[in-house]
Amino acid sequence: MVTVNTQFKQAEACGVAEYVADRHFEGQLEGRFYRSSCSRGVIDDVQLPTFPPGYHLFSASDVPGKNELPIVENDWPAFADKEVRYIGQVVYLLVGPDPEVLEDLIKQIKITYISSTPAFTISQSQAMKDGPICGSDNQFDHHELIKGDIDKGFAEAVTIIEDSCSTSYQEHLYLETQGVIGYPKEGKIVIEGSMQCPWYVHHCMSHVLGHDKVRAIQCTTGGGFGGKEDFPDVLAGPLAVAVEHLQLPIRLIFNRTEDIAFTSKRHPVEFNYRTGVDKDGKIVAMDLKLDINSGGYFSLSGIVLQRSLTTCTNVYDIPNVRVSGTAWATNTVPNGAFRGFGAPQTCFAIETHLSHVAKETGQDPAAFKQAHFLTSQSKTLTGAEIYGDMVLDQMMTRADELSDYHEKVKSYAAQVQMSDDKFGKRRGIGLAVFQHGCGFAGDLEDILVKAKVAIVKDPQGNVEILASNTDIGQGLSLTFCKIVAETLDIPLDRVHQARPDTDKVPDSGPTVASRSILIVGYLLENAAKELKENWIEGVEQRFEQVYKKPDYHHWDQQTYQGNAYQATSYGINVVEIELDLVTCQSEILGLWAVYDVGHAIDALVFQGQIDGGLVQAIGYGSSEKLELNEQGTFAQKSMADYVIPTSLDVPKIVSSLVENPYEFGPQGAKGGGELTHNGGAAAYVAAVESAIGVNISSIPVTPELISELLYGCENGDESGGKNED
């Protein structure tokens, strides 16, 4: 059966797909947030202007249910009522017909705060000036994980290397900003919008309103990358309150400045390694301390922390490990989900650190890493057997064939010394190996999510997929349809996915964590198999499936022992650059990528993930600078300031897949969407290190940073001006 769909995404390409800003309801009102101007404080006094008729203000006191956003812990209020923890925190929602009047009213609201000293960085959080922001110690979460015997490991070491790595913020910069529109319909409060997880929004509305007469519907969504996992709750909670009170349609759409300034970001993380290498050049012990900057509320930090800890040794078999991780409260926007969910940080740090260890002990980084690869016989950091085959060696061979990595390493090492060529260019090549655990952490798929799907065949033999997983650009809808059509052996155009609408689709869980294909796709495949076996012409049939954990999968959340994830995908990226020694700018000459995602259900759809994920990761490693200013807000405020790659910044990517089918995935597939963001930054940094011969320990690696590394000691401090925003 030929199942090619060249018309997939036609509505988007023709401009007829309706994103939330394209929706229109008769008499719809506009909503605008009034936000805290204080990064840490208590509301002392409020002066409100007189509202003209038809204009309304909603606050914590209008919440009929609980004034909380139910994101893991319920610590984040829908409306700040007493305490504020960051600049931009929602205090009020203003609603009315004319946005200009709303903006004017916002300017007239005066709140005075009793403020205390804010903490923006991890070290400021640790210092606890004016006491803790939360709990007794500013720690949202803390865990320790031990493998083997760390003391015994260090006793065998002949070289011990201490090293630090750090990562900064990253902004999703989805092309469509956050937005939702709410309205009453058939006794329910309905919210449509740009979102990854309609059931999250559904639960949030229900929690805030105190009843379950609610409904969430996904609109065509202009990119998410994790940014529309938890964050739509921040809009939906207050909006649900206003819609319930007014019983009118209201829309709430962020402008770009607001979106960059106040939505969640990728967590900055600091890594401190102490690594012991024995006389044979093998790592015998690794002691790692990692600290993540959570921002003002706990949000998803615990899960990011768990992934950072349980995957901190990446694809390597290290016998003795101790890792301790802490999530710190600070007075910035709460950091949240972003493609990779802690893994891009962890992969950058471990890859960079191991390159440094290799160089320090006189070994070739790639060979050194390869000598430590997990094999099918290894046990993971969390003590589990490896399920399935490891194909990392094959992937290394493929990456080398595509990129000519080893030859280039040799030839670039022999480049003329910098002093002979100080105005020229130098080339560099770097490689990173990485993994991504697919599905929710540990056994949460089993004990928390319990995904449900259904497929419905109509009497004409057309099949509808009912699942809550959303196509946010990654092509999920086509992949789902292909799984079902190919299992049923029917033409692809007879299968379609229903719009994710909580009135219609069961809760198959959120569109996150590279779980949609692995977990939900597998359920769909099984539902389709059941339909195929029981197919009756001419009648409507419905088959449901509920997640069941594979027998091999075990997890202990207390001890972090067992299979940290149900399955793991793997990747290798190679980056080749040419660095201008005068300006310290680098041009990317080549990008190569090799992946084990089990099996790609649609090779072109997955190529879209490969290309997009790698370019996003290159931006993360090189140009996407997002810095806090003295007020604890971001210095980069616009799409001009926050520098993502354009079409001229990256070349065409050459990629390849190694087939390694996974038994419990649809057609043998594992997850892949996040994986593609995990290695690019590390490979880019390795390429820059190879060009300049100097170690780098933080991202983004801007020309300014490279210039400092190369020339910082030349003429002392040359700084002339002062900081100007």
Binding site: F423, C584, E587, D649, P703, E704, E714, G720
Partner: protein, 284 residues
């Protein structure tokens, strides 16, 4: 609602300006950024906006044996595609924003906006461009370095319209241009440098350099230039001579740190680019 004038002749345009409280709208690619349109060259909110895009006179480009006269209303794309325009200027235009902005942004707007980071300004300074300003009282011509007084500040009074740029035709045997932007396209400038020289019979018969984004306005210094003009190329072979030129510019350059880059990087990179160019010249 603001009143809109959209005349078809310069004469009509300056008539409107003479009425006062009128702001000029050329390509608008800076004015339209932000929640409300803001003209850098106009203080406050004008009661009328003068759109000059329909004035054909402002869209002509002519040349004679000595100069090229560029209408202020020509878009950057139109200049990019006209081979009479000096190559250095076209090279800099190709690095401005992206096609959609270059199709709208005008040469005159770029000059009147007087941004320290404007990409075309260092080239215009280097080429000794004259700025022609018209009003109901007639025409005045300024050398560009006098026309621009500071960031967003020019000699333009509320009744003036910049109508033309007159660029002397100068042949150079050696040129050098680098924009260091935030990325490869759609990039704002961290630092830029343009240089031009003539080497005749082993002598530097002409030598110029201008820097962008390293001070409140473009940095060009003809006194320092005169130190090189007339010198044999071999003079540059002496490392300390190059160093003395660099030191002289170091004293003239005063970049700031902002979210885009650091003062240290801007200063270091502009001087290294200068050194690179001088070293290239020393090789003939």
């Amino acid at each position: 609602m603001v009143i809109a004038y959209r005349p078809e002749t310069t004469a009509q345009a300056v008539e409107y300006l003479a009425r006062g409280d009128v702001a000029i709208f050329a390509g608008g690619t800076d004015i339209m950024v932000g929640d409300k349109p803001v003209c850098r060259s106009f203080k406050g909110e004008p009661s009328a906006m003068l759109f000059i895009d329909a004035i054909d006179e402002l869209k002509t480009l002519s040349d004679n044996s000595k100069t090229i006269t560029v209408g202020a209303g020509l878009s950057l794309t139109e200049l990019e595609n006209d081979h009479r325009v000096p190559k250095l200027l076209r090279d800099s235009i190709l690095q401005v924003a992206a096609p959609g902005v270059r199709n709208c942004a005008t040469m005159g707007g770029n000059v009147c906006n007087a941004s320290p980071a404007a990409d075309t300004l260092p080239i215009l300074y280097l080429l000794d461009t004259q700025v022609v300003v018209s009003s109901v009282n007639g025409k005045i011509t300024f050398p560009i370095e006098q026309f621009i007084k500071g960031p967003g500040i020019t000699q333009l009074t509320s009744s003036d319209l910049l109508t033309q740029l007159v660029i002397p035709k100068t042949e150079f045997s050696h040129t050098f241009y680098r924009k260091v932007g935030t990325r490869c396209a759609n990039a704002l400038t961290k630092v830029s440098i343009v240089g031009a020289a003539n080497i005749q019979n082993g002598l530097l018969s002409d030598w110029r350099v201008a820097f962008g984004a390293v001070g409140p306005t473009v940095v060009r210094d003809q006194q320092i230039e005169s130190l090189l003009i007339g010198k044999p190329v071999a003079w540059l072979k002496q490392h300390h001579n190059i160093q003395s030129i660099i030191e002289a510019y170091k004293a003239k350059i005063s970049p700031l740190s902002d979210q885009r880059s650091t003062a240290t990087y801007r200063l270091r990179t502009s001087l290294k680019l200068l050194e690179k160019w001088l070293t290239e010249l020393s090789d003939g």
